[in-house]
Every structure is written in structure tokens, then in C-alpha cells.
Amino acid sequence: MHRYQGVAAVSYEILLKTQLAHKETLFEVSAPEIAAKALPGQFLIVIPRAGGERVPLTICGYDAEQGTVSFAFHEVGKTTKELGTFEKGDCLYNVTGPLGNPSEIKNYGRVLCVGGSIMIAPLLLQSKALKAAGNHVTTVLGCRSKDFLFMVDDAKACSDEVLIASDDGSIGEKGMEFLDELLNKERYDRCVVMGPVVMMKKVSEITKPYGIPTVVTLTPIMIDGMGMCGVCRVTVDGKMLFGCVDGPEFDGHKTDFDELIKRQRTMLPEERLSSILWETSGGCDCERQ
């Protein structure tokens, strides 16, 4: 049991830890109330331990019967590195969710689902739901190199077709340019993109001339994740919107990605400092249970 005072008897125990790739991990956590309400496209705010940060992480699975919800993360900053040290049986301090608006899942016809790095995990939840809704689903898995590729079998199980791309060309296509050729050959009615901002920008630029409605999942910096702080604001179609309450999904053809990229970088020096201190202190876990 976690030890903070004044909380109902809720314990966010890690029931399953899966190492997806070198620094990519998937947790399945006990959270019955969240599991009962979670839908594809929504996210969680995870606080690993008392005094820790509030980290937004996209839901990549849920099971209302088992009372579990899962999320995946890439170890990049202090908090995600620390999360990586948690093992099966450990408890998280707090998990709040489901947050954000669920994805629109309908039968569109032919859907192109493009995922990049850690966001492949939640993308597959969408691929699965879109497939179940009767769509023909082509799933594209994007990764840095072949060592960072994961969940290929899961993708195959929930898609009609799976394509692979890597930044360095070490597996599958090199980069996302091949999508242009694909769209020249095949008709698609909708495109769903979840991944790094630069990748979402690139894919949105490719689909735009074809007039394919393109939905991107934005993961701006967040704190509360429920509409209070406004740090997740993004410009979409010239309007200021909040990633947490208006999103997290937006029209990729109307999103100001360049502004978002700049906003993502505003706390980089602090994030680096925090991360370096964590590593040089040997990843102290004395405050954890």
C-alpha cells in the first residue's frame, strides 16, 4: 500500500511490467474505476511517488472486468527514468483518469494508422477499435531503428496490413516519405497519427494534398491535465485550445506544429538538470515503497 494520508483505499499496483524495447516499458496497473470508464484516445496523469511530477501518459489498454489500465513510456527525463525502476508489485502514488476526450471511432472505410516510437502502444488501441468498427486498417509502425521496434505481432493482430518504417532505414522503409507513394496508389478515408511532434507534422503534410482527414494526438507539456494551468495550449485553426480539455486529438492539417515544438522545449534546461541529477545520484529510490 502506498502511504499518503487522506486517500480512499485505492492502490495503483503494477500488475505487469513489459519491456517493449531497450528504454520503452509498458505497465498494467490496477485501477478499477478508471478501467471502467477508459476509452481509446484518453490519457492518465501518473505521479510515481509522493512529491513527484504529474506526467501525462496515453492509455494503451484497459480491461473493465480485470480492473486494469495500461500505459507505456519511453525513459527520457527524470520521472520516466524513475518509473522505469518500478517493478511488478510496486504501487504508484496516484493515477488520475481517464482524462481528455475519447477518439471518434466510426466506420470510415479505409483508415491509415501511423504510430511513432512509444506512441505505437496507444495507437494499436485505436487500430483495434477502428478495425472492430468495420474499417480496413493499415497500421504503420515508425521507429528510430530496428532495435527500437516493438509490438509488431500486436499490430498484425489488429490490422489488415502492417507497414514498418525507421528513421535510419535499418528496418522497413526509410523515413515517412513512402507514405506519399502509398497514398498515390491507395485510397484512404482517414488518417490517425500518434507519435513525436515532428513525425505528426510530417505525416500531416503528406496527407494534406490528398484531402485525407488527419487526426493527431498532441502530447504538450501538462501539469494538472484537467483545464487549469493552460500550459498545454496549442494553436489549431488560429484558435487557442487546451490539449487536456479540448483534445488530446486535433486536426493535423490545422495544428500549428512549429509553435508546439517550441513550447515543448521551454523547460528543456530544467529537464536536463533534473535528469542528470537523477543519474548521478544513482537513481535513489529511498522514498519509494
Binding site: 487522506g6 511530477e53 504529474r54 484537467m226 480539455v245 521551454t266
Partner: protein
């Protein structure tokens, strides 16, 4: 009351006002005239029997004194610190006519602090009524409603979206005005009364209000506050270094970013901070920024006379080095090549005729643009209610202009069994007015619950 000296306090986050000693409390309490028809009590939004608790202090009977307060106010340590007493109880004090009213807030604080040191007494609950109530939001309004209803024998669940209870008392008001361990003690008191607190539960997402009603709650109180920040709408507002007051306050107060990197959530404040606004929130942001080492300029579009912040807070801030610049408004923000704010263009303003509410409006004086350096800007021009509950509760009547929930004098919404109060109904106001609204709603809810037919199948 003794305070930390300005040159010391501007370097730390410890409480500014140090509180009365016992001698000081007695001296102050002895000045009270014990009026037969106490005006001070009429000025208190939650009707605290003020002369009675002051009398207890003169008799050295502190335990009774705090019990007297708690018959009406579940959060005295908070109210003794952040209530605008000069506008309420103290404004009505007869001694005030001669310029020196009783320091009611400081005496209230004295008793609350005395109790914290000597052990908290928990009053008995009325026998169970078998009725279940959901209270949404563990801020001043929600805590008041929860405390009142649980004492009356109802079964109360308090849902809080954040991972810590207290609402604006935790995320909004800084440590140096209201220490967080004091808020936590007040929250623990409400729990000790028997309230079931659920943290990290965003109502509207994890459960909607219709779902709560279906699952067996007989009544719901919405006290979710006004947390959605307002913006200037000026070009460049999404540059790095431009914070909403809420972001700034949440980082510093709730997540303790002033202690970064010991705490994980960072804050970046440059050398020249501009705070836009003139309320207590603006003042808090300014005083935090000074404690983080910046030179701070407060830009307010009206004149000093119209500053809505408490006089005491303005004085504190100015003692600490705040520069005020009146009658100006922002027009545009300029960034550097990394997308961080570096300057802002403003215009001068002039006051014009009072509007319908009696408040002087103001207008731009053409061609008076000027530019000032700013590497951090904090926008503190108000908040509106968060839209999640309104969007997920079919038929709930709200004001289309600002999203506040429409209620009657007793806190009833147009949906049967659903009540609301505090900032979500009035727009951003004070802690004590939210508590007053909570008190009225709790009474109306109690009437509703006790006159209600028992639900089939409920115990």
C-alpha cells in the same frame, strides 16, 4: 502582529505574518466592547459568533473559543489568515469608527493555531440519516458543505480531481500567506468528522453527475471552482515564459517548484517579470516571483485606487519591492529566436464613466504605445469555471457568457438534487464567500434530504 522583515521574507517562502503571542491576543481581545447587537457578526459571511469567541480568549478559555468558531466555520486557521476581514467583520466593528477595529482575523488565527498545538477536538455526528451525498471539489466551498452535512448525519463522499485536497488553498495561495501543512490539518479535520475523501477523481470523466445519482447518491454539490485561465488574446501569448497565473501558482504552490531540483516540477523565472492584473492572485504571483529572485513589475489597466487586491497584500508586496505600473494594457508579446518572450508592447489607458455595475471602465488612449522588457509574463486577469462538468451533465443551466452554473439563493441548480456554490457559480471570488455559499447550500441540501422520500432499495 509581528511579521518577518521585508528584506528577509523576500528570500524565503516561510509565512510572513508570525501570529499573536498569548499576551498580544489577550490585549487585543480585551479591547472588544462585547456589543449587545454585534455588527461584526453581521459582516461575517458564515455568521461566526465573533464576540463569544473573543470573550473566551479574555477568559483564557481557548478550547471553548475554538469550539464556538467551529460551530460555523470548519476552516478557522485558513480564514484567520486569508479572509478580507477589513471588508467584512472588521469593517462593521464599532471601534473601527474611530479607526482601530478589533483584529478579529488575527484572534481567530490565534485560536486555530492554539488548537493545532493542543490537539483537535472532533464534535459528535448526528445519528445517520441514511442519505448519501457527493461533494465535488475539496476547496473552501466543498470542504464546508462536506463538514456541515457529515455533522448532520449524512454519508458524505468528497471527490477531488487533484492529488491533494484543499483546492485553491493548496494550489493557489502561496506558502508564505497560508502554510500548506495548516491546510492539510484542516482537511484532516474534515476527514475526522467522517467525510470519505477521494483524491485524483475528476468528476465528469471518472463519474458523471447523472452516474453518481444513479449509483445511489441522493444529492450532489458542485464546488469545482473557477480554474480555467483567461487570456489577454494578444499576439504572441503562446511564447515560452508566458504563464497563466494558474500554471505559475500550481507549479510553485502545489508542486513546490521553488524547491526544484529537490522537487521534480520546475519553474523558470527570468530577471524581469511582468504580472498582468491587479487582484490577490496577481499579487501572489508577483510576490512569488520576487522570492524567486526577479525584479517584478505589476501592470494594471486601471489606477491604484481600483486595485482589487487586499490592501494588506498590496502593502506587503510593495514593501518587498514590487513596482506598480498603472493605467496600461498589453497589446503584443515579442519573442526571441528560441520562442521565449523577451519584451511586450503596451498601451496607456484612461478611466471613463462607471458602467452599470458602478465600476469605472477604461479605454485605450490612442498612439501611446510603449515597449518594455519582460522575460517572464504572468497573466493574472481572472478565471472561469472548468467546462468538464457542464459538458457532461445534460440539462444543467449555465451562464453562456462565462460558464458559471446558475443557482438560486440557496445554491439549487435547475437539476433536482444538484446544488452548486463558490467560484463555479459566482466566478472567481474569495475563500470566505465560497464558504458562505457552501454553508447556505448545505442547509438547503439538508432540508432537501430530510424531506425527501426514501429511495427504494436504499437503506
Amino acid at each position: 502582529m509581528p511579521k518577518q522583515e521585508p528584506e528577509d521574507r523576500v528570500k524565503n517562502f516561510r509565512e510572513v505574518a508570525l501570529g499573536y503571542t498569548e499576551e498580544m491576543a489577550h490585549e487585543e481581545a480585551n479591547r472588544c466592547l462585547q456589543c449587545k447587537n454585534p455588527q461584526c457578526r453581521k459582516g461575517c459571511p458564515v455568521d461566526v459568533p465573533i464576540p463569544d469567541f473573543i470573550k473566551c480568549i479574555t477568559e483564557g478559555n481557548y478550547a471553548d473559543g475554538i469550539s464556538v468558531i467551529k460551530t460555523k466555520n470548519a476552516l478557522p486557521a485558513v480564514c484567520g489568515r486569508v479572509c478580507p476581514q477589513e471588508e467584512q467583520c472588521q469593517k462593521m466593528c464599532i471601534l473601527g469608527k474611530k479607526g482601530n477595529p478589533i483584529s478579529i482575523g488575527r484572534l481567530e488565527r490565534y485560536l486555530a493555531d492554539w488548537e493545532r498545538e493542543h490537539g483537535v477536538h472532533v464534535p459528535e455526528r448526528a445519528p445517520s440519516t441514511g442519505k448519501k451525498v457527493a461533494v465535488i471539489g475539496a476547496g473552501p466551498a466543498g470542504l464546508t458543505v462536506a463538514a456541515d452535512l457529515v455533522k448532520l448525519g449524512h454519508d458524505v463522499t468528497l471527490f477531488e480531481a487533484l492529488h491533494v485536497a484543499g483546492g485553491v488553498l493548496i494550489y493557489g495561495i502561496p506558502e508564505f500567506r497560508l502554510p500548506k501543512d495548516i491546510v492539510q490539518k484542516e482537511v484532516e479535520y474534515v476527514q475526522k468528522l467522517g467525510v470519505d475523501l477521494r483524491l485524483g477523481n475528476l468528476i465528469g470523466r471518472i463519474h458523471t453527475i447523472p452516474e453518481l445519482m444513479e449509483s445511489g447518491y441522493d444529492a450532489v454539490f458542485i464546488g469545482s471552482g473557477a480554474g480555467l485561465p483567461q487570456w489577454t488574446g494578444c499576439p504572441g501569448e503562446n511564447l515560452g515564459g508566458i504563464y497563466s497565473a494558474n500554471e505559475f501558482l500550481i507549479r510553485v504552490n502545489l508542486m513546490k517548484a521553488y524547491d526544484f531540483p529537490q522537487k521534480d516540477t520546475p519553474i523558470r523565472v527570468g530577471k524581469h517579470v511582468v504580472v498582468i492584473g491587479g487582484g490577490n492572485v496577481a499579487m501572489d504571483c508577483a510576490r512569488i516571483s520576487m522570492r524567486l529572485g526577479a525584479t517584478v513589475c505589476l501592470n494594471y489597466r486601471r489606477s491604484r485606487k481600483e486595485l482589487p487586491a487586499r490592501q494588506e497584500e498590496i502593502e506587503n508586496a510593495e514593501e518587498e519591492g514590487l513596482i506598480c505600473r498603472f493605467l496600461n494594457a498589453p497589446l503584443e508579446f515579442y519573442g526571441d529566436d528560441k520562442g521565449w518572450v523577451r519584451a511586450m508592447r503596451c498601451t496607456e489607458m484612461e478611466l471613463c464613466e462607471p458602467d452599470a455595475s458602478g465600476r469605472q471602465s477604461c479605454r485605450i488612449i490612442p498612439e501611446t504605445d510603449f515597449t518594455m522588457d519582460a522575460d517572464t509574463v504572468i497573466v493574472a486577469i481572472g478565471q472561469t469555471p472548468n467546462p468538464i462538468i457542464q459538458r457532461t451533465t445534460a440539462g444543467l443551466e449555465t451562464n453562456p457568457r462565462n460558464g458559471t452554473i446558475i443557482i438560486d439563493d440557496e445554491g439549487r441548480t435547475n437539476v433536482k438534487g444538484v446544488f452548486a456554490g463558490g467560484d463555479v457559480a459566482t466566478g472567481a471570488a474569495t475563500v470566505i464567500s465560497a464558504m458562505g455559499a457552501g454553508r447556505r447550500a448545505a442547509q438547503a441540501m439538508h432540508d432537501y434530504l430530510t424531506n425527501q422520500e426514501p429511495k427504494e432499495g436504499s437503506s
